[in-house]
């Protein structure tokens, strides 16, 4: 993409009403546009990051047998009345609206009930199980306040997966597969080392659910972890019973501020009993389906990455999620050579943002840094005197001069080292 054609301008200052660092950075760098508190649009730069995060999640969900589908935002009351969750006293984040005939509808803040209702039409026998389905869906939550940028939106994108199993044994196997898949996702997103499987409240059916908590100053959670980080507990399960079970003392656990980037939940048969989701087993007997739910906040993860990976110059994207892998900046009257290199890079499958604008070199460098593109390549009349280009990594202060004929291979090597 040529920068001159990219519908994006970087800004010196974030909007005065934006208090979250992630949104401040993302707005300044041209990834995000604020519609209102908790409601953000994504520019051509922003959507590229979202799609890359989604693709990594998609690959890992497919690898454990997931099938992608897409549900609806509009929800019928009766779907949610079965589990008593239509009531605003029970669920306080509903956005509600009305059809012309005054019938109330809700905007999906979750799809648990909706997907169970859909599954009921497709599952009747033990032969139809297990099923693992997931979607990337916009969720709507009527939060009283929304001050965490894209980390807690009133409108946001989530990957939610649901498992329907024959029994707890089949469920447990998938549940463990999903924990492993989630850790692969967070590794590939570049936050694996700082993300911990955390014991949290399990609700009615099980003792624990599991959260994936990423160390992040802007997080809204506090978890307690021991020194070697093998035991991580959410505050809500910090009690004598849990401590004994985990074989740790309260003193060994230190509080750490984190953001929840994913969670997985064992419903057992509670929800299927409430909604009468059953199947006929091999003995011809009716049995309730064993259900699980597995979420990753896609836009929240993007916010967490922006919070964690930045410096005074701007964003620093991991190569796996960067909107472009390379920013090519031309200086002076070298448009022909720059254009050739741009095409050559693209021909080699490298994603390039070519800054072809007629602006000062300093502005181009500042934008490349602010946008957090992993590799910056500068081509100028001076560099071409030696038939060279300058290659600089976003995280390094040192630039390297590379012969034009080696440029592609050198960039490819640098990129694969970043993956």
């Amino acid at each position: 993409m040529k920068r001159s054609q990219l519908f994006v301008k970087t800004l010196k200052d974030a909007p005065a009403d934006e208090v979250a660092k992630n949104a401040q950075l993302l707005i300044r760098a041209g990834f995000v546009y604020k519609v209102m508190a908790g409601v953000y649009a994504y520019t051509p730069l922003g959507i590229r990051v979202i799609e890359k995060i989604k693709q990594i999640v998609r690959e890992e969900m497919d690898a454990i047998g997931g099938a992608e589908l897409i549900m609806t935002a509009l929800q019928r009351p009766d779907t949610w009345k079965e589990t008593k969750r239509w009531d605003d006293e029970v669920v306080d984040v509903w956005f509600k609206t009305k059809l012309k005939d005054e019938q109330e509808l809700g905007l999906a803040w979750s799809h648990e009930e909706a997907i169970i209702e859909m599954m009921k039409t497709h599952v009747s026998s033990y032969k139809d199980l297990p099923q693992y389905v997931y979607q990337f869906q916009t969720k709507f939550r009527n939060e009283l306040r929304s001050k965490s940028g894209i980390m807690r939106g009133r409108e946001f994108v989530m990957k939610d997966m649901y498992s329907a199993c024959l029994d707890s044994e089949q469920h447990e196997k998938f549940y463990q597969d999903c924990i492993d898949a989630y850790m692969r996702v967070f590794d590939r997103l570049g936050i694996g080392e700082d993300t911990f499987v955390t014991f949290a409240d399990g609700g009615a059916f099980t003792k624990f659910s599991h959260e994936f908590q990423t160390v992040c100053d802007a997080g809204e959670d506090t978890v307690y972890m021991n020194e070697d980080r093998t035991v991580v507990l959410n505050e809500e399960v910090m009690n004598d019973e849990t401590l004994a079970e985990m074989n740790v003392t309260k003193e060994e656990l230190k509080p750490v501020v984190t953001a929840e980037v994913g969670n997985i939940f064992n419903f057992g048969t509670q929800k299927s009993e409430e909604m009468d989701f059953s199947f006929t087993n091999s003995d011809g007997k009716k049995q309730f389906v064993h259900l699980g739910s597995y979420g990753i906040g896609i836009t929240r993860v993007m916010g967490v990455i922006a919070e964690k990976m930045s410096d005074e110059k701007g964003l620093i994207w991991h190569a796996n999620v960067a909107p472009y892998q390379v920013c090519l900046a031309s200086i002076g009257d070298v448009s022909e050579q720059a254009e050739n290199l741009y095409k050559e890079l693209m021909k080699n499958g490298i994603e390039v943002l070519y800054d072809d604008r007629d602006v000062r070199p300093g502005d181009k460098f500042a934008d490349a840094d602010l946008m957090g593109i992993p590799i910056r390549v500068v081509i100028s009349s001076r560099s071409l005197e030696n038939n060279e280009v300058e290659v600089k990594m976003r995280e390094s202060d040192d630039a390297e001069m590379v012969n034009l004929s080696d440029a592609i291979e050198s960039i490819k090597r640098k990129l694969s080292a970043l993956e």
Copy 2:
């Protein structure tokens, strides 16, 4: 994908309350799940068709310089009050909802105003123009009735593109590029021959807008076209002035029932004046941006294809949008050979639905036909006696026996003939 793992069941009958043929077929074949009138979820089969349609549209929009982004569903009233379109008397399809503090919000039924507001933050100089941006977005329209299946939804997916140009000359060029791109889209979707650029009412700024109308019995429009189909008029512009301009008589034009699959619109500077969207030209003077809007109904197109391309056995997808290119059905105890062929097909980049279920052959054939997969491959102990498989096109009654060693090449040839 193995059929045994696919979260889909075909149905003998469509739900009794479903009156539209497209939805009846799509529900029976397992592509769509009806949440309520005008609100449909898409199963793993359905989402594959949607994503293929989107990808074709995306490629053609990118080819004419479009940049993809994503706006929000939640809309602030003030954005729409500027053009007087917040009022339910003016726009009667708003779904409205409220924040906790009682502030009203709307669900986007269009994004024209929203995108102009966003563009204003990124465009200030003539150097920032032109801009062509588009999105695939869920739209919400509070229709009084919704009886056309996925052809007219209360919640549906649309590709909407917006152009912001320096002047009418720049606009006209892009407008024409977009007409050409749209026709390429409809050609690739397999409905090009039945889709016509139609003159329609242009609104306040221009005489005509252009609709893309597809001949379809279930359509809600009537257009008038001459015998060689070079003049196609929407009813609303059928008047003496238009007829004279087009050099046709009323008698030469015959009514045809159609569905509108796309439309393009020249706003001129009307909307930018209403919303004060201006730029500084090269003489330093303030000038209003010339705007255009370009829509394609993604889920509607899917509905139109389903309406048009089916027979008594079920759906008939064009190979470019079929959820899978090949349905592989195994008969009898040949799972090892079937599994090998399945893997071989996938290795060759062919999208296969492998019906590995333990059901009667007739059920497998009926499902393959109902789902409308372009090529059916049957592997059985009998076919393997001659080291052969049976290959049958969805639209043909004749099957062909193909040697196992030639199967991949034969299927590839058939597929490329279908594109």
